[in-house]
Amino acid sequence: MIVNANSNTNRTEILEKEYLKLIRLGVNPENILVLVQNSLKKRKFVDCIKKNSPAGNIGNLKIYSFYGLIYNYILENWAIIENSIKDDRAKIIPNLSGLEISQYIFKECIKEVDFSGYNSKTSLLHQLFRRISLINLNDLSNAEVENRSAILGESFSLQAYEAINKYKKKTIDYRAFDYIRQINLFQFLYKKLENNFQYVFLDDGDEITPALLAYLEYIKPTVKEFYIGYDLLGSSRLGYLGAINIDFEKLLNEKAIKVEKNNQKTINAQKILENVKNDKPIELENISIKTFLKRDEMVENLIQDIKKLINEGIKAKDIAIITPNSDEFLKNTLLKSGFDFNFLTKNEKLNQNKLIGYLLELLKIINDTNNLDISPYILKGIFIELLKFEKVKTIQLIQEYKLERDFKNINLFDFIKDKADFKILFELYQKIRFEKLSVQLYEMIDTFALISRDIKNDIIKINQLLKQITDFEEVLPEVSNSDLIIQLENTIISENPLSDDEIDENSIVVSSAQKIIDYSYKTKYQFLLDVTNENWLKQDIGPLYNAWVMQKKWSKNSFELEDNIEFTKDRTARLLYKLYLLGDNITLYSSVYDSLGIENFSGIDKYFKSNVIIENKISKPIIPRPDQQAVLNYKGGLMSVSATAGSGKTTIMLLLVDKLLSGEIIKGIEPKNIFVLTFMESAARNFKERIKIRFPNLTELPNISTIHGLALRIIKENNNYSKLGLDYDFEIVDEIKRANILAEITSKFSVSSDKVDLYDKAISTYKNEIALYTDYITDNRLFLNVYQGYQEKLKEENLIDYDDLLLFSLKLLRENKDILEYYQNLAQIIIEDEAQDSSFVQQSLIKLLSGKYKNVIRCGDINQAITSTFTNSDVRGFREFIKNSTNVVMDRCQRCATGVLDCANATVRIANKNQIEAFSSLVMKPVENINIVDKNAVTINIFDEEKEENNSIISDIQEILKNDKQATIAILLRNNFQINKWDKLLNQSLIKTYKNSDNLINNPLYRIVLLILEFIINPYDIKLTKEIASELYEMGYYKYDTLQYANKLDKPIFLADNFDEPLYWDLPYFLFKNHYCMYDLVSEIGNIYFSNSPEKINIALIAAMVQKIRNQTKTFEDTVIKLRQIQYKTNFSNIKFFTHDNNQEKNSKVQIMTLHKSKGDEFDYVFIPELTKENLCFTPFDYKLKESSKFNQRVRRDKKTDEELKLEIIEENYRLIYVGITRAKKKLYLSSAQNYKYYSKMKKYEPSEILGELL
């Protein structure tokens, strides 16, 4: 019997009834094999049989998942296998272990195979696991694997073959087989044994693997009847889960019974399937779409929706949240809402669980004979959380221990042995120190009575840990306790198909789509999250595995990008089809950015259309000026827009995108065909936000990103990374890691440590050079050695750096015609902002991407090119482009007062007069009736003493603020280090300031997190406590009384006893609450003090950053120290905080920033002080070149002379002052003094030449 029916029918019920019929006819259940998808479905089938059986003997039911069948088969017939192994060892019971032991064994095998030259060593294990999994699930012979290796042109297939063979051999030696490896044993066994199953039931037949199919085909001649339930349109597990589409009618030579519920749901589901396959978006009544910019907004909205439903009486079991990104941020935010959630298990590290983390740490301490470098923070957690020691006593003990350890090198257990309150730990240590790990752990759990209903969710994890330790001890008894702990800490617990998730009816399920389908989990409300994220489309390809080509049915001789796209689409169609059948009302949620602020792309949003029309809130149309109108007259082709400062370039670009989206310029263009490239991430975010407001109904926004964002997409999308030899989880190296790698490599080549920074910059320069001149190799041998060592290390660790991001995307486009065509077809138009700052690589990318449609608009202002001295920007490219395209000039500046405009134009004239080619010939003109007419808008002062300059500026600011409280004022400086001086000066005069720098410490969230982390490790530091109180007072979180209370503190806050003071509750709360995972701790700190957007998402960014640093440092304490060390970094790990549009922090404050930072901004009043020749030099002869500039030249192909370099810098200085000048709307103040304090003495300085010339 074959039943072709979807999950919206009673298909399983039909099979169950047939089963019961057979039983009633007297068939022994032992002769009926029932194969279901997983353990949960097995339980349901068994329950049904139990329920419908008469009283008495039900019998020996043979109801299994495929892996359950295999497992039992091997155990029942193990003797056959053992007797066939020709060695002198023996095992009575094989270890049918989890993947963790296999990981250990496989790692050992990889070491024995020469994979030199293979890119990412860290992912090698993962690659090989995927490979063997695909081979086994697809039942591929060696010849079939070889054939596929040839199709894919794999470079390391021989090594992979060798490693897998060694692994197979070793698993036999150890008699340890995970569920994938067990498939091989099963295949060996069933061919040797008689089949006892006269009847075979198979449900979810569309999801089975070729390995199972082979078994069914093998026993087919001896089976009286098959009962197959399947969905012809199903097979959502195609790809790396190994499902195969089977024509059961042909296989069994029997017509299928078609059970069809012709209701709307089935019809709609089929429509979804068809539409996705044909790339057509679908609009359905029961599907709505909600789009957000940031992920926190999305999750908050979801929680509100859930609240509403629950208030309406909807039960938790009727709601499912479905996302491929069930990360810490989502978990923390959902759990805070107060509802119960059931996160269906995912692969995770065991020590992500707090209890397990502390248990492992304690085991580590017990098994480390020295244990002198224990983290006090961890010790505190163990004592309070695990051993339930009294909190204050614990803090005091740890403080004493820290002091004694520093002086006497005393061992922890020697230290506590005479301390009555902690003796129990010493006694336990004495009892178990020489035991094996499993015994130690068991005794710990027992002694401290850890098992209770309070931790019922953790018991599964504890048992997983115990089981894993026991498995290791059985299979690998030679591994020492300490080594085993390291292994356990690094092991990712994989999902075991033999254990299933418990689904609690009172919780809302949070799960992946596949799991919802696997469990046929039907709900009234499905919330699909992160629909714009590419993780909805599973990663099926890596350098050593390709789930599509390794399919049993693969018959083509090549594998193209198009194949990958088609297969992925097919699988996605099936997945969405099946998912839809399980939900009544479906809401799709998307956010433009993920939890880390990285743009989402390539999700499933493109397949759906919203049926809800959101009203456009923009009422006032923007009327362009005539010089702007020329941009909007664009009809296609190459266009350059030379736009002076203040000419309204951003607005006009926005209007241009508006026009494009309305289809007026290019017919039929879709948002996905529009690419906008900005220089800064903040500009991209801002642009997106504006588009979102203007087009609230757009589910898919145009591609608006920085060049790095676009490059990342090119590398990630459609598994393109595999062509670079990268695994899907490659990461971008962060600053700490990069510095560590460089330090390691440079020291290997005896480069002195003070030169490391030079290499850091030169590597970036060199990468740009080799992109420009593909066959160029530097003749600087030492540099080349360091460079190669650095690259090698990155490869080994599956890392890339920011320059690679661009280089690799360029390489992919240059070397793969199909990838190039894919993006060329997409990119119907490319708009580039800040084109004067575009690098050669960026320009090459634009050229390649626009190769088909050749519609490119590049906007910029050569006069504002100020990044070439510290980036690889190449203004020449833009100059060339202007020559070869239709050039539109927007020379009207409506921002600056006329006097300021004159000053800016004068700067251009001065440069020309001095024969410095810094500027274009563009002369800024005012807009009639808009610009303030003020010929005296500019004040230039040269003071004698620094103090005079300071006082003059302060009094000017005070005067401005007296007359105009809403005025925006900025102090623009040449260098970052000047910011603090001016901040201090203004604050002393009670003028509020806002330091507009990207320094981490400038972010209040970062400051608070860091201070509280420091407090946790230094609870006795009263000064620190006072600092925290002061910071929180400044933020408005505490009242003045609390600040006063803190200032009067004479003992550590946790020993104080003023219950009325919030400080008394806040800080000890963090001190006593132990988070093993720093992500959770930082999240909690952030969430207590910050509750609005965008801080909520910024908390997630900081938490992720801290956790990343934690993973790279030895202890919690080291992490905190590191966080303090990097406080002045402007950008760590490319974390880009979200900012308020109308940042409250900036309001009525004087903003202090560098000239560079001010670009793109405008202020009523601008001060540019300290304009000395040393700070801003305009004469090449007088300029002293920095060592880094010279060093960079040594790695270039066409090396510039010192004179040429100096000239370039002088050109840029002209443009820099030009940028500063053009920030001022009403008044501009340029100044310098002739004497500044240099350390403690006064030193003479020459004012910058420009002041004299402008005067």
């Binding site: 139990k50 329920k51 059986s53 008469p54 009283a55 008495g56 003997n57 039900i58 019998g59 020996n60 039911l61 155990l75 029942e76 017939n77 193990w78 003797a79 056959i80 053992e82 007797n83 060892r89 023996a90 095992k91 009575i92 019971i93 499993s438 015994v439 068991y442 759990i445 098992i451 209770s452 209903r453 019922k456 018991i459 599964i460 504890i462 048992n463 115990l466 089981k467 026991t470 059985e474």
Partner: protein, 188 residues
């Protein structure tokens, strides 16, 4: 709600309802596999493979001392053993509410009646007459084999000893089982 009980879970339930809930509802038990447990599992597996007719001479090498095992194995012959490692599932009811008994017989021997074998590594438990394992096994075997000619044989492998308990009174067995289950059913 739990509706399926084993001899072990009934033992816990009889002793303490809270402990039963902890262990079987909340699964608050800790995985423990000591050397004794491992040895017991090995004996069971070896005997099972032997009774299935497989050659166990190689597998046996894993045991440190095979002498007594060889002695023991001589006492059993595969021929009349009809089942080994045999799971059972029985349906019954209490006040019209169904419940199920489950377990796994180590081996079943058939002559005129049926002998349920239960291998013990070291000692045969005391009071086996009244042991819940005895009761559940005999009660379920009488249902499975449809006869009252059943007995349970506890075999101490290392000591080469055994003790039998004959099937006695089905009503008593049911009453005892029902009484224990009602402790839990009454509260759910």
């Amino acid at each position: 709600m739990i509706d399926t009980f084993s001899a072990n879970s009934l033992k816990v339930l009889e002793k303490n309802l809270d402990e039963f809930i902890d262990k079987y509802v909340y699964h608050l038990s800790v995985f423990k596999k000591d050397n004794r447990t491992i040895l017991g599992q090995q004996y069971h597996a070896l005997i099972c493979q032997y009774l299935k007719g497989y050659d166990i001479s190689k597998m046996k090498l894993e045991l440190n001392n095979t002498n007594f095992f060889d002695e023991f194995i001589k006492t059993i012959k595969p021929d009349n053993f009809i089942k080994t490692e045999y799971p059972f599932l029985i349906k019954d009811e209490l006040n019209s509410k169904p419940y199920y008994l489950t377990g796994r017989y180590d081996a079943v021997y058939k002559d005129e009646g049926y002998i349920i074998y239960d291998w013990k590594t070291l000692n045969i438990p005391k009071n086996i007459q009244d042991d819940l394992q005895t009761i559940v096994y005999l009660y379920s075997a009488s249902k499975i084999f449809n006869t009252q000619f059943v007995k349970i044989r506890y075999v101490a492998i290392e000591k080469l000893e055994y003790k039998d308990v004959e099937f006695k009174n089905i009503a008593y067995y049911k009453e005892r089982i029902d009484k224990i289950i009602s402790r839990y059913y009454d509260i759910v």
